[in-house]
């Protein structure tokens, strides 16, 4: 259906080719994942398909791309993109109209379809969004916005759908919901779907083929099972196969067929015996001192109709020295609100927050900042200076701190920002921005650090580095609180998990217990790491939270007959 023949492209004036001699065929009704590191040319490849390249971004274009046998050279953006729908990674910027219905009729209207309203409505129906038709776009949640962007793209009844990193900005429950919709579009409507995706667990569950790109060329395109079995090649390129595949690979690297989904892994590990493990060894905590305390706190926000929507209800919570707390719960459960209440960006409607026993009611955010650092979900909004070094020293400078130079230099080194320190934070990559935002927070030398989604929209390799960095926080702060959707982060980092549901704490426990309790997981719409699911599948109890832990608990029992046959 889509045929690339020796396609190369470079931006005008650039030396490097962004696409180099790409020849590949995407057949009708494929569901293909495109993987590859940063700068591998994934987005560029997709933009050739909808004609943005070379018709909008004019540059040196060589070779030939055709859709359904029609040469794209004789076409234009308008006619190509009415066949090829595109959903961007930063989908929020894709929504250009105020209301949901306006948004989905925008494209059909622009292309002059008389039945534009019906088309829009049909697209909404397809994704079960009809009830949102009259809502204003900015009042929707992230997951809903993504679906609206998708509906807007589907309203043109395209043949091909391209989605750029759909789950990067969604919480796990919404990510699954999105992929279920894609599966439906693929199987029921026969759409050809291309996703740019880092999360191999989704690839294994939903995609049929995988295409690996590197430095502007297509390395290979294989069926999903075969592709994800190339564990060594993928890890070398910083792409991490599913946890179950990794576990199996570490167990028997030479195995011909590694499992890629949970189901397959269940069968693969069937013949293993499981070590019993006593209840986890718990250190009786030293006498913990309470630092932050919530006492009957209520909070709510106002809507357009001036009504107050409750977000936090009667919160009682103590944060103690040495705590590594993960706040978890679905979107809108009140995680970020709790962080803002601590740092003073918002004030409780009722109740009070205490810091070491003193009420914070009359304490300004500026004053609280001397003890508490709050790091945003979106690092861009923390860059208030024109270079990172100035951002890091801002806090110390306005306070005329005597050791500002030393502290700044130390932090710059500690976070490996030596090369980047004179650059504007906005121009860095996602991973570098996170690192810089963490550095800004720690330069304040806080006692308590609050982080909002520190691993969101990072690729897997950067995310691992981030988790390691968070592991070292203990040496410099007394307590850390992270609001997150990332269950792998919870599993590997937290010592205490506070589960929120609709503004109320429904559990305050350890990661171990959270992941053993499937009822609780479901109630808070959380999705456990795959390795935990595998433990449930194999009835390993208590569950293990990491691949290493899992590997220590299983043992390959070669049956006697097999040993015998080997001897012979």
């Amino acid at each position: 259906m889509i045929l690339f023949e020796n396609v190369s492209f470079r931006y005008p004036g650039a030396e490097e080719w962004v696409l180099k001699d790409v020849s590949v065929e995407i057949k009708k009704h494929e569901f293909t994942a495109i993987i590859g590191g940063n700068g591998a040319g994934k987005s560029t490849f997709c933009k050739v398909i909808n004609g943005l390249i070379p018709y909008y971004y004019v540059g040196d274009f060589e070779g030939k791309m055709s859709i359904n046998g029609e040469d794209a050279a004789a076409s234009n953006v308008a006619s190509l993109s009415s066949k090829v729908a595109y959903v961007y990674q930063d989908f929020e910027n894709q929504l250009v109209r105020p209301k949901v219905l306006d948004e989905v009729i925008f494209s059909p209207l622009n292309y002059g379809y008389k039945d534009y309203i019906e088309r829009g409505k049909r697209a909404l129906e397809l994704l079960d969004l009809t009830h949102l038709a009259d809502e204003y776009v900015w009042q929707l949640s992230g997951g809903q916005k993504h679906l609206v962007a998708l509906a807007g793209a589907l309203a043109l009844t395209p043949e091909v759908l391209i989605i750029d990193e759909p789950v990067a900005q969604l919480d796990p429950a919404h990510a699954i919901q999105l992929y279920e919709k894609l599966k439906y579009l693929h199987s029921e409507l026969g759409l050809t779907i291309l996703v740019i995706e880092h999360h191999t667990e989704f690839i294994a569950n939903y995609c049929k083929d995988v295409m690996l790109m590197e430095k502007g060329s297509v390395k290979w395109k294989k069926p999903v099972k075969e592709a994800l079995n190339s564990v060594e090649e993928l890890t070398e390129k910083h792409i991490h196969p599913p946890q179950v595949t990794m576990a199996a690979f570490h167990e028997r690297p030479l195995s011909e067929q590694l499992p890629v989904t949970l189901e397959e892994a269940g069968r693969w590990f069937e013949n293993y015996t499981i070590h019993e493990k006593g209840m986890p060894f718990t250190v009786s905590p030293e006498k913990q001192q309470s630092i932050v305390e919530f006492n009957g706190v209520h909070y709510g926000y106002k809507t357009l109709s001036r009504k107050i929507v409750p977000v936090i209800k009667d919160l009682q919570l103590q944060i103690k020295t040495g705590d590594r707390i993960a706040l978890v719960g679905s979107n809108g459960a009140g995680k970020s609100t709790i962080l803002k209440l601590i740092s003073g960006l918002i004030k409780p409607l009722q109740g009070d927050v205490f810091y070491k026993g003193d009420s914070l009611k009359k304490v300004s955010p500026e004053k609280r900042a001397e003890k508490i650092a709050h790091i945003y979900q979106n690092p861009e909004e923390m860059f208030i200076e024109d270079e990172i070094r100035k951002d890091i020293s801002f806090f110390l400078k306005v306070r005329n701190h005597p050791a500002q130079e030393e502290i700044t230099n130390r932090i710059v080194q500690q976070f490996n920002l030596e090369v980047l320190k004179h650059r504007d934070g906005r121009l860095l990559s996602g991973g570098q921005q996170r690192r810089a935002s963490l550095a800004i927070g720690l330069a304040m030398q806080p006692e308590v650090v609050l982080l909002d989604e520190p691993t969101a929209s990072l690729d897997i390799a950067t995310r691992k580095k981030m988790i390691a960095m968070l592991g070292e926080l203990d040496s410099s702060v007394k307590a850390a609180v992270i609001a997150t959707h990332d269950m792998q982060l919870v599993a590997e980092w937290a010592t205490r998990v506070v589960v929120l549901n609709r503004g109320e704490v429904i559990a305050d426990t350890t990661p171990q217990e959270l992941f053993s309790n499937q009822f609780l997981l479901r109630e808070a719409s959380l999705v456990e790491p795959q390795i935990v699911s595998l433990c449930h599948e194999l009835k390993i109890h208590p569950v293990e939270l990491t691949i290493d832990g899992f590997l220590r608990r299983i043992k390959w029992e070669e049956s006697a007959s097999e040993c015998f046959s080997k001897v012979l």
Partner: protein
């Protein structure tokens, strides 16, 4: 809590955002909202000219009252009314002070009243109209009146971006507060605090503009992909889209009644000039 403190506790970025969005989109079924947007634009244009053509104070009082009634019927946001009052009062006082300083006479007080009423009439009329017409209708009306498509789209897109911009701005201000340092003493009449906040509000603009500029890259591509440039070149969508704009009897009644009331005000004004 004093009235003053109570007021300032309500003057948060969040509340201002809500009031602005209510003015823009929070459409209630008021009499003016049912009108064709073109009629509203025409009406507000006329009413921003009329007051400047007369010195008759009776007429000016009448016009101010008429537009005030319309503004009341359109349920204009209290915040806007408050800003109008502050604006009018401050303008009035500074004109009086200036005149007294230069002319040293209290008669200027009376001379300034007509100007103030003219400004009030125009502001009230504008507020009534823009509360009754959401940006979508405004943009469609402009398009129908022959304004280029890029401009009319810009109007509606600008409004659509407003809440996002305000939120971004708010977050950046928060960023300053989370790292900044309040002056140790409030100073005379809180002057140091005020200076601190004003400085912060100005400094926060620069990062906001840069962040916004970064976002628009995707938006520009999207407009291309979703056929916006295509429709500008071909003009196909225009007719389909604007089909719903029709002048009805109601519109003619409105312009009729408006003219009648204005005429009445003029007649009374000429009969009983103040």
């Amino acid at each position: 809590m004093s009235v003053f403190q109570k007021f300032f506790s309500k003057l948060t970025v969040e509340n201002i955002k809500i009031e602005l969005m209510r003015t823009a989109y929070g459409n209630e079924p008021t009499p003016l909202a049912k009108l064709d947007p073109r009629m509203l634009i025409l009406w507000v244009l006329i009413y921003s000219i009329i007051p400047w053509l007369t010195h008759n104070q009776t007429i000016l009082i009448g016009l101010t009252l008429f537009t005030a009634v319309l503004a009341y019927m359109s349920r204009v946001s209290p915040l806007l009314i408050f800003l109008l009052i502050v604006g009018v009062i401050s303008q009035f006082t500074y004109l009086v002070f200036a005149a007294m300083f230069l002319g040293n006479s209290f008669t200027v007080l009376i001379a300034v009243i007509p100007v103030t009423m003219k400004v009030a009439t125009v502001s009230l009329a504008t507020m009534a109209v823009f509360t009754s017409m959401d940006p979508e209708k405004f943009s469609d009306a402009l398009l129908k009146l022959g304004v280029p498509g890029k401009f009319s789209f810009g109007v509606s897109y600008g409004y659509r971006m407003l809440p996002i911009l305000i939120e971004e701005y708010q977050n950046i201000i928060h960023s300053f507060r989370l790292r900044g340092k309040l002056p140790a003493k409030p100073g005379f009449l809180y002057s140091r605090y005020v200076f601190y906040y004003i400085k912060m509000c100005i400094m926060a603009f620069y990062p906001m503009m840069l962040n916004t500029a970064k976002r628009t890259r995707t938006t520009v591509e999207v407009l291309e992909v979703r056929g916006f440039s295509y429709t500008l070149e071909n003009n196909i969508a225009k007719d389909i889209k604007l089909n719903y704009l029709k002048m009805t009897k109601y519109d003619y009644y409105f312009i009729g009644i408006s003219t009648l009331i204005t005429a009445l005000i003029y007649i009374v004004g000429y009969q009983f000039p103040l």
